[in-house]
């Protein structure tokens, strides 16, 4: 009896599946180069430039977090300001206990992640638009509770008690902190999406009922993302707090404007892509830098732009470009080469 060799052709006949490949290497090398160049900036340019870039950094971080929520897990939160505000206010507490603000940012993110876990059970009772408003209400509740503590400055905000005394050093440190938070947010998103969780997430976003029936643990995946995004927003909140040496008013740091901002950046840049929020944040940063002094009109234009882009360019700036050219700095899609 002759043993036939397995028809190897049938096995190898499966077309190879690629994910990024050389593009990944290029993208990551490029990103690393940009981050290194940015890290060197305090030695190269005056502190006014880096001070502005701090804002860009936390905008990118915030946009990435909202994109993770809405673009990958289908959760349109209007209440991320809860975690931004908590990040800032918890930083007061750890700072009061002698932890420096830079290490404190890490501590604060971890604490907020812990807090977000029970909160998610509350928020997940709602879906879609009701989820959006539910998270907003939660943020309001957090604000209303925080302002009841006199030690936190009650309704009038407060300043950080212990920051680096030397202004030049402080600015550099603040900038590096912001840069680190941004890098963590963007690269963290990339890592999450390349993981097994990322695949489940995209299934959830496309059809959570179907994903659930195929054995994807929908709620667990969403919860992980919700908690991650809370931690990211808290870190951004801490950066905002360090950058302005405190919080001007709880109404501001817990303001729904932050959520509005995040929505805007993600929509403009392109929801559901890693690069989109970065592009959106840069677009908003430039708009804000050059047009913010035109006051109210500028906000009207921002609102109108959000409408126009969601109606006529639903993939956003980056998404449209990537769709037409197939280009990605952070490839997460699997491509079958035939």
């Amino acid at each position: 009896m002759t043993v036939q060799t397995a028809p190897a052709a049938e096995v190898t006949a499966l077309p190879p599946v690629h994910r990024g490949g050389r593009a990944t290497v290029l993208g990551l090398t490029g990103t690393a180069a940009v981050l290194l160049a940015m890290a060197a900036l305090p030695y190269l340019v005056e502190s006014g430039v880096t001070a502005q870039l701090v804002k860009l950094c936390y905008l990118v971080a915030l946009a990435s977090m909202w994109n993770l929520l809405a673009g990958y897990a289908g959760m349109m939160s209007m209440g991320q300001q809860a975690f931004i505000g908590l990040g800032a206010y918890l930083l007061f507490i750890v700072n009061d206990h002698g932890v420096n603000v830079y290490a404190g940012t890490l501590v604060v993110s971890a604490v907020v992640a812990l807090l977000a876990w029970p909160v998610s059970y509350l928020a997940f009772r709602l879906r879609g638009g009701y989820f959006a408003v539910g998270t907003w209400v939660i943020a309001e509740v957090v604000r209303l509770i925080v302002v009841r503590f006199d030690s936190l400055g009650a309704a009038s905000g407060r300043t950080l008690s212990d920051v680096t005394a030397d202004p030049v050093l402080r600015r550099a440190f603040t900038y590096w902190l912001a840069l680190a938070v941004m890098a963590a947010a963007v690269l963290g998103t990339y890592a999450v999406l390349r993981s097994r969780l990322g695949l489940s997430l995209q299934a959830i976003r496309d059809d959570d009922t179907a994903a659930g029936s195929l054995g994807v643990n929908v709620t667990r995946g969403k919860r992980i993302i919700y908690i991650t995004a809370a931690a990211g927003c808290a870190a951004a909140g801490a950066v905002i707090c360090v950058n302005s040496l405190g919080v001007a008013s709880p109404t501001q740091i817990f303001g729904v404007q932050y959520s509005a901002l995040m929505v805007f950046m993600v929509i403009i840049g392109g929801i559901g892509t890693i690069e989109g929020p970065v592009v959106g944040a840069i677009a908003y940063f430039l708009l804000d830098k050059y047009f913010a002094q035109s006051g109210v009109w500028y906000l009207i234009v921002v609102g109108a732009a959000a409408i126009v882009v969601s109606l006529y360019l639903p993939r956003g700036l980056w998404g449209t470009l990537a769709h037409r050219t197939g280009f990605a700095v952070f490839p997460v899609r699997h491509t079958v080469r035939l």
Partner: protein, 290 residues
């Protein structure tokens, strides 16, 4: 007696919330759109009334009609020009459009009318009340708002359950593709729904403005929360639940204010979250036997 009075005032406040929530609930029920601009539309309704009264000398009761017509017409335009298209794109797009509108409305109001409160005086009606004895009094105006809320919700109910257009609206809510096989243009149903919802929320906005004595541009950020909370507390898809939800929220806020002047908002939100934890389908949400 002050407590009883607080509860009574809360019930009366609930009428306005219920009216505002009815439109929100309708739009969500028929088009599955969570209208984030709902609170701002309410405030816009107040502005229309205030401005027509102050600048054009229109009698205050007539301003209610003007506001409902103007905001209702805006509803038609918004639905036709933006939301129809957005609904074809996906679930997120309509919400983003309403989000954009919610940014535009208050900023346009600031630009045109400044941040100052726009008054809408209702004269002696604002203070007139029926004395129930023992320090308990019901203001005429709050009473009117509750009557108006009951009237609006009843009319909506009659429309939806007793008329052919109403039945078609409900059928469209159930299955938008199948009504087309019966010759119904689902987009016209959406337009009708939006007009009704926008006009109702304008009415709620005018009454709210009258109650507060005036209106400021950014109040929509609060009222949108109240409207959503009312819908959820009452239970989705139940108009009478909406009335109950409004009353519960109104009483919570009013009793909260009685405890401490800085508590009404927190008390309202906490009641909402409690309902969410212990009765997520809402007080009168559809049970299995709908």
């Amino acid at each position: 007696m002050t407590w009883l009075n607080a509860i009574l005032q809360g019930v009366l406040l609930g009428g306005i919330f219920a009216m505002a929530a009815a439109g929100l609930s309708l739009v969500f029920g028929v088009m599955r759109i969570a209208n984030l601009a709902h609170g701002d539309l309410m405030i816009l309704g107040g502005y229309v009334a205030s401005v027509t009264a102050a600048h054009y000398g229109v009698p205050v009761p007539v301003t209610i009609v003007v506001s409902m017509v103007a905001v209702g017409a805006l509803g038609y335009l918004v639905q036709r020009s933006m939301l129809d298209r957005a609904m074809g794109i996906g679930e997120l797009a309509p919400m983003l459009v309403t989000f954009g509108i919610s940014v535009i409305i208050p900023n346009v109001l600031v630009q045109v009318f400044s941040s100052d409160a726009q008054p809408l005086p209702i004269g002696s009606l604002g203070t007139a009340s029926i004395d129930l004895g023992g320090g308990l009094a019901i203001g005429w105006f709050p009473l009117i708002t509750v009557a108006a809320a009951v009237a609006v919700l009843s009319s909506l109910h009659l429309f939806l359950y007793r008329t052919q257009p109403g039945r078609i609206v409900r059928a469209t809510s159930d299955d938008r593709a199948v009504v087309r096989l019966m010759g119904v243009d689902n987009r016209r149903v959406y337009a009708l729904t939006s007009v009704i919802a926008f006009a109702t929320v304008a009415l709620a906005g005018v009454l709210y403005t009258m109650r507060q004595g005036g209106v400021t541009p950014f109040e929509g950020q609060l009222t949108v929360l109240f409207a959503f909370e009312t819908v959820i507390i009452g239970g989705l898809g139940s108009l009478w639940g909406t009335l109950a939800g409004g009353v519960v929220l109104g009483v919570a806020q009013s009793v909260g204010a009685q405890i401490s002047p800085d508590l009404p908002l927190l008390a309202g939100h906490v009641v909402f979250l409690l309902v969410l934890v212990f009765r997520p389908q809402g007080l009168f949400g559809r049970s299995v036997l709908a």
